[in-house]
Every structure is written in structure tokens, then in C-alpha cells.
Amino acid sequence: MLSSVVDSVGLWSTSLTYYIIHAILVASATYWFVKRRDSAKQQSYKLTEKQKDELIAEWEPAPLVPETPLNHPVLHPKLADSKMTKYVSIEGKEYLNMASSNFLGFIGEKRIEEVAKKTIFKYGVGSCGPRGFYGTVDVHLDLEKQLAEFMGCEEAVLYSYGFATVSSAIPAYAKRGDIIFVDKGVNFAIQTGLQASRSRIEWFEHNDMEDLERLLMAQAEKDRKDPKKALTIRRFIVVEGLYANTGDICPLPKIVEFKWKYKARVFIDESWSFGVLGKSGRGITEHYGVDVIDVDMIMASLENAVASTGGFCVGRSYVVGHQRLSGLGYCFSASLPPLLATAASEGIKMIDEEPGRLERLQRLAREAHEKLDKALQGTKFVVRAAEVSPMKHIVCEDEDRGSGESKLDSLVNTLFEKHKVMLTRARYIEKDEKFPIQPSVRFMVQSELTEDELNRAIEALRQVVCTL
């Protein structure tokens, strides 16, 4: 027994010496290593002030901005000098407007304009502050409540700009280390939000659910291998209800199915589908009959069907309430001018009170699709969009992209000048887009369009297309 005690003491003392020697070795090695890296850095970088002066004298910066060709079409816009209603006056002449997303014909609506004017005489124009600092006007709270009730959700958060809504909401949740599964066809606002989030982005082919499942499964496989890490990774699926760039709608039921299967939260951008899809304009969830609670968050702008400015996010309070403290565009920006909030609020009331508008819009959208299809048969032009979408993309299937684009341009210009029908090219900054985009012409219908007007526009289109 004694020997065992001695032994253990001996062992203890040897191991102590052993540890001390090791500790000293490790410490000096670390010190040497750090020191060496430090000094290497210092040595290779040290310049005297004189040398710096010489380098500074030599340095010639690039110009702040590159030359812009003065004949760029953007620099020579045609100014609209009336309201952007069904007929719009541009430089004194009147055109049939099929280029604006005023789907429900709210622009120029007396009821909305009166409310907006009354708001000016009560609250002034600007709100003079961010939401946190006396920029919350009661009309903001009313609109938020109204939006939440309209969508059947717990809470809505109002932003002062449509673009900022989507690009602030995504980085409020997705952080570095998280994974976002995104459709390749998403609009630029989502792309900006993704970039700001710094999360890992997994792109799946546009509306290709097999591709999405493949990516989800690959991630699930990785998670199985490293379950500890998997616990900290948040997964999101980001799609659009109605894709701005293609006019397609997303297969939501399948996506919700994947949500439960692969434990990924679903965010939908309904900027184009809000007030447009579904029997009563509730958007993509209503269109498919998906329970809105199964979608984690819906983001939408108020700049299309609602014909105001701003945007909002709706969902459960637990989720969207977080943006009141962390949505950059919410916290750091002045709130929405009250007159635009009341205009939006009146518009949303009208969606419910005048259901005829939405019915007409959806009927016209289907009709336009059919008629355009017929009119474009046998030409190189094709309609691309879902049948229910009031926004159609007309693309030119020419082998040569350049000539295709110029044909689209001349289609828009001839219709504008000869037939007094206003369409527009869909404009993108191609160098900033993540994926190449097919050039197209936007053809948008609105509820106030009559059959005759639609027929006239399509007939004119057919005539022009034949000559191209």
C-alpha cells in the first residue's frame, strides 16, 4: 500500500515536471509563431514616409463613375403629365396604358384621393421621424391592424418603401451560417436581401420542385453527419407568389410540404400577387387554399395592386414583431407619409367592398392570355406567364439575343407611336442580376379595361408583330 502511495506521488511529480516542460514548450512555440507572423507582416509592409509620398504622388485613381453614353434610352424619358390611369397623357398625347401595375384601377379613384387629401390637412405630408421617435401616426397602427386582419394573421409591420421591405425583412432573420433555398427566378429586391444576410444561398431551378427537394435532401444528409451543427443552422425557403420577372406563380402546396418535411421556414414575397390572386385578393395562399399560418412570413409591397407606396410583412407576432427592432429599413428610416398610409388603407377596404374589380381583373387576365396566345401564333413571339396573372411577359424567341431585343423595342415603339397603346420593356440591370434574364415586354391588364380596349390592344399588337 505504501509503495503504491510513493508510486503515485512519484508519478505525480514526474507528470508535474512533464506538464511544466510541455507548457513552456507550447508557450514558447506559440510566442515564436505569433511573433514571427507579426514581424513578417511588419517587415514586408514597412515603408518610410518618403516612400509613401512617392507612391502617393504616383497613384492615379480611376474616375469615380465610368462614361455614360449620352444616347442611353434612360436619359431621354418621356414624361407622364397626367395620372397613370387607364388612359395616360404623355407629352400632350393620350395613350392606352397597359404598362402599369395598377391592376385594380385604384389610381385616379376619387374615394382614395379624397381620403389622401383629408389626411394632408390633418397630419401634414411627411411624418418627420422614424417609427421609434414620434413617427408612428395612428393611421400607421390602423393600417397594420387592417392588413393583419385582411390576411388573417396576428400582426403586420409596415415599411415606407416596397423595395426596402423585402430587402430588410430577409436579413432580419437569416444570418451568417444559415441556409436560404431560393428560386433562381426571384426579383432583385430579394437578391439584395439575400446579399445583405450573408447566409449561404442554395439556388434551385425556377419552379422546379425536384431540384429544391434534391438540395433539401443534400442538406439533410449533411445534417445527419453533423447533428450538433445542424441544431444551429436556420433553414429558409424564399419564393415569390407571382414572379415579377416571369409572371409565373409558385407551387406553394409542394413548398409547404417540404417545409414540414425538411424543417425549413417559408418566406413568400407577394408584392405582385397581393390583391391579385385568390378569390378575394388575399394572394397566393388563398389561390391554393393553403392555410396562411403555415407560411412563416408574407412580405409584400403596396406599390402594385394597392396603388400607394410602402410595403408590409405579415405573420405571427413572434416572427414579424422581431422586425420592429431589427428590420433595418423599419428602424432607421422615416415612417410612411400618413397620406400614403390612408390611401393604401382605403384601397384595401375597396378590395373587399367592390369585389367586382377583382373578378373583372381575373377574367380579363385569362382572356388576355388566350387572345395573346392566338394572336402570336406562328410568330417568334410567345406569351410567358401564368394564366391568372394580370402581368404577361411577351418574349421573342429569336436565336440572336440582340436582334430579339431590338424586335421587342420596335414592338413597344411602334405600338406607342402608331397605335397609341403604351406597353413597356421590362427593365433590369443585367450586370447586377444573379442569373441571365430573358428580355421581355410587359403587357399588363387592369380591371377597368373594357373588352373592346383589350381587343384593340391585342389586334394592334398582332399587326405590329406580323411586320417584325
Binding site: 384621393e113 387629401k117 421621424g129 429599413g329
Partner: protein, 645 residues
Amino acid sequence: MEGGLETELSLLASPAERRTAFRIFHRLPFRLETRKSPSKPLTDELCNEEEHNKTAETADDEKFEADDDDESRNDQRKEEAQINGQLVERTDILECAWHRRQEEADDAELQAALESEEEQERKVALGTGSASASQADLGEKIDIYGNVSKRAPNDFEHISTFTLLSVYFSWMMLLLFAYLREILKRIGIEDDKSNKERSELKDFTPLFSDFESLYQRNCYIRVRDVFERPIASVPGATVDIIDRISYDGNWTYVHPGSKTNVINIGSYNYLGFAQSSGPCANAAAESIDREGVAMCTTVHERGRSVSQHRLEKLVAEFLGVEDAICFSMGFATNSMNAPCLVDKHSLIISDQFNHASLILGCRLSGASTKVFKHNDMKSLEKILRDAIAYGNPKTHRPYKKILIIVEGIYSMEGSICNLPGIIALKKKYKAYLYLDEAHSIGAMGKSGRGVVEYWGCNPKDVDILMGTFTKSFGSSGGYIAGSKHVINHLRVSSPTGYYSSPMSPPIAQQIYTSMSIIMGRDGTTDGANRIERLARNSRYFRLKLKQMGFIVYGSDDSPVVPMITYFPAMCGYYGRQMLARGIAVVVVSFPATDMTEGRVRFCISAAHTKDMLDTILHELDVVGANMNSKFSKRAHLYKDMKIEW
């Protein structure tokens, strides 16, 4: 930083914000000294020289001339020295106490400066100030703020280490109790009233990190009632605040339906254009009849409206530059356009206290970013020199271009940027300058043209003039102005023109009318009167606060007045007490500011009358005395000062 406490912790996840959080280390009672660089930048030497020769300004000038003579053979050198001379002169004016503990000597200096200023003011009041014999110098000009070349310095007074430690202690207590209550909630002793995750989502990865929700549930919630107070009227000099009561610790509010009319010193209504009647409101309402409420298309599709076009022309004329471009949102103006100017081969040098929108813009641009100490020309010059000499450390190539981004008035510090110094440096090192005048446009300068006019600089020396319409113009949106060349590029390449809606016509009209009034186009002196009233109000309010013994940051001419109260608990106290006394103020604390620098911020408006300011000052005096928050050790300097409105 407009967001106040709402800035949110999640921001901390991004390095730019993390940097802000680490600012606390600069304020620790002990100093983590970084190794001093062996090389001394040019300004440094010249500054020291200047300091030694401070006794006689004239002698100094002669010395400079002599220096010039010596180097007259080399023209380039001479030019450089001139720029340097100018720089040193300006740097000295604005020398802030940010990183240097103020000493007794400085106090004396300040006393002298104050006296001379007072003299100056008296002269202005007598109307003889413009041509005093002693100031025959050609560069000397007098405007509503006094002498153009002798602007009020940015003041950052420090408090004692003991007070700092007690601020840390109070934060520690706050967090300790937060953790304690979190435990109580977890074991079910205390009710957890926070919003819950849907039970079906329990096995998903939690949406928020633990600390985030801890801070939100246990710290922010306790003072939630002083933020996001709803209003029910125009945010003018007075405002109707909707009463709300919470019976469950600020989780939910009950609105009894009543309103309280209080003095509003929290809104950014610098020139008092937040009005629900008068020419601006009428013009805005008329424009709805003419052009409607919205465009429903993008600028480059078919949405270029006459009202926006007209506005862009007016903005360019107002600022004295070639062209301007307007956007519907001020935040997006910064965050979407900064990336159009720089790419990954460029360097952005950004001020320490730049607004979140600029930080986001820097991040989205992909350019390398360096941060210089707030308003510190030496720090800026050192970064510029090193950046040009060493190039990009990642690629070992020289930077293609360098963009300096600064603000006119810093919204949380109340300080005015040292524009002449920055312009001199920018010229010397061939960098470009982006000036964000969000808070200063309209509010500064004798005709409202921002800090550029305040400093007597040439607007053409600033490459990008950015500003917002939310504040002085009582509307919404932002602009960028500059040379035709730059604006054309932005029109073609800014994403806002392609993907988002143009300005709503009534919003554009409000700006057009208010800007016309500022320019005197309406045939009255209303605009000029507003600007002068704002200048008088700001100076009066600031000096009075200092006289009472509060620590106030920034320049005496700035309408943004942050009064430092240090302790986190003061936020809730001041917010509630001032409201109870009929005054709506903005309180800010971590994470929008430094951890140790909780503050009350006032935004002076031209709409405030002297009586209103006196009421506010009186109530502040009482509350400040109750709470012992008059920390200033320099009140004696202002004791005998006659502060005239």
C-alpha cells in the same frame, strides 16, 4: 442613427455593428494602448507646429509664408503646403476632445474662445459685425452663425472614471436581473408574456438567438413605453400623443381614447414645414388632383413623372450643382446608390458614426471598408496614406479609387463634420467624397444649403451630395446631386430606377413648395426667417443646457442636441418624466449609442418659440437636479455668460 434602442442586437452579428459594440473598449477606465506607428503623417507635424505657435496667429502666418518661400522652386510642394495649411487651420478649429482628455489649459482656451464669441455675437446683434477693422482678412465673412472661418468646435466632454464605472455597474445589474427573471420564467414562477413560437415549429432551429431575446424580453420591454409613442396630429412644435396604459409591464397597451397635447422636441422638423395647412399642404393636395397618389410603375418603365422631373431640376439649382436625382426613400438612397459608385477594387473610408443606411450601402457594395475616428483628420489622413501606399492587403494591388463617406451633421452626436479639412485631404490624396446631408440640408447654412454653405465651401468640391427630404422639408425621400456626369451614371445604374416606384406626386410637391419657400421664390422672407430662427433657437438651447451643467455633445450651431445622461435607467426616467411634464423627447441608449453614453436627444425646430424652449429648459433643470445628471465640470465657464435668444 434614427433607431434608438430599437437598433437591435441582431445587428451585432454583422461586423460593421460589432465594431460599434466594441467601442465600449475605448471608454474603459484603463487604456488598451495600441502600438504607435513609427511614422508621422504630414498633418501631425504641422499640427504640432501649429500648437507651439498658437500664441501668435500672425507670426504663424508669416512662418507659413516663409516656408513657402523656401520651397518656391517646387510648385507642387507649394500647393501641397497650402492645402496642408488650410487643413491644419481647419482641423484646429474643430479639434475635438474625443480621444484626448481635456486639460485645465483647454478650459482656459475654451473660456477665451467663448468670450471672443460672445463679443462677436454682441457685434452681430448691434449690426456692426460684418466689417470690423481687426478682421480685414479677405477670407473673413460673417453670417448668422458668426465668423465663417471660426466655427464653434465640436465638444465631447468626458466624465470621471468613477462615474463610468458606476455606469458599467448599472448595466451589470440590469443584465443580472434580466438573467434572474429569465430563470424565474423558465421554472414557472414568473409569467412569461412574450409571444411564443407556434408549437408545431418546436423542432425547427430557433429563429432567434438566446441573448437577442433575453435583451428584448427583459431589458427593452421595461422601457418600451418611451419608444414608438403613437401620435394623432401633425408633428409640429406641439403634437397630440395618444395616451396608452399598460397593465402587464409594457407587453400590451390599452388606449383609453384620449390624447395629450405636448411640446414636441423629438421630431426632425428643423424648419417647421410639418404643417397641415398653408401653402405646402395646399400645393400637395392640388397635386393629387393633377397627378394622383402613385405611379404603379418604375422610373425606367413608364413612371418618370413631371413632378419628379421638376423637383430634380429645382434641387440641382438649390444646391448649385449641375444635376440631381431623387428617390422615394432616404434610407434606400444611401443603401442602393453607394454600391453603384464603388466595387471590390475600391476602398471606402467611413466615419465611425455613419448612419446604418451608409453602413449597409458599404456592405452591399463589396468594397473594402476602413473606419476613421469620428471627425478626426489625422486618423483619416493616416488611413488615406496607408491605403494608397500599401494598396489592398488581400490582393496586393493598389486600390482603383477611394471614396470617403461622411455625414454633415451626425444625428446621434450632434457634431458637424469638418468639411474644409476633408475637402483638403480629398484633394491632396485624389480621393472622392460622399457627403450625407440628411440632417443638415435646409437646417444649416445661412440660406439652408447645408454644411457646404455653413463652411463656405464650394459644392463642386464634393463629388456626391446626398440628402433627405424627411427632415427639413417635412416630406419623404432623398436625393443625390453632383455633376451631370455622375448623375447620368446613377440614372443608368441605380437599382431604384429599375425595381422600385418613383416619388408619389404629393410628396414631391411638398418638397418643391417648401424648397421654393426656402429659396425665397414665394416673394416672402419666410424661408430666411425660419433658418435664422432655427440658428438662434439651437444656439440658445445648447448654451442654456451647458450653463445648467448638462453635458451636451457636438457643435453649438447644430440643431441636433444630444444631452448625455450616461445611465441606462435614465432613458426610461427622462422619457416618462418629460412626458408627464408635457414635453415629448427622444431617449436613446445601447445599442444605438455607446454602452456608457445613454442620452436624451432634442431636435430643435424653427417652429419652437422662445417660451417653449424656456419651458423645456425649466423642466429639464428640475428633472436633471432630481436625478443628479448634471455631469459637466465646465458649467462655471458659462456661468456668467449672457445668453441671448
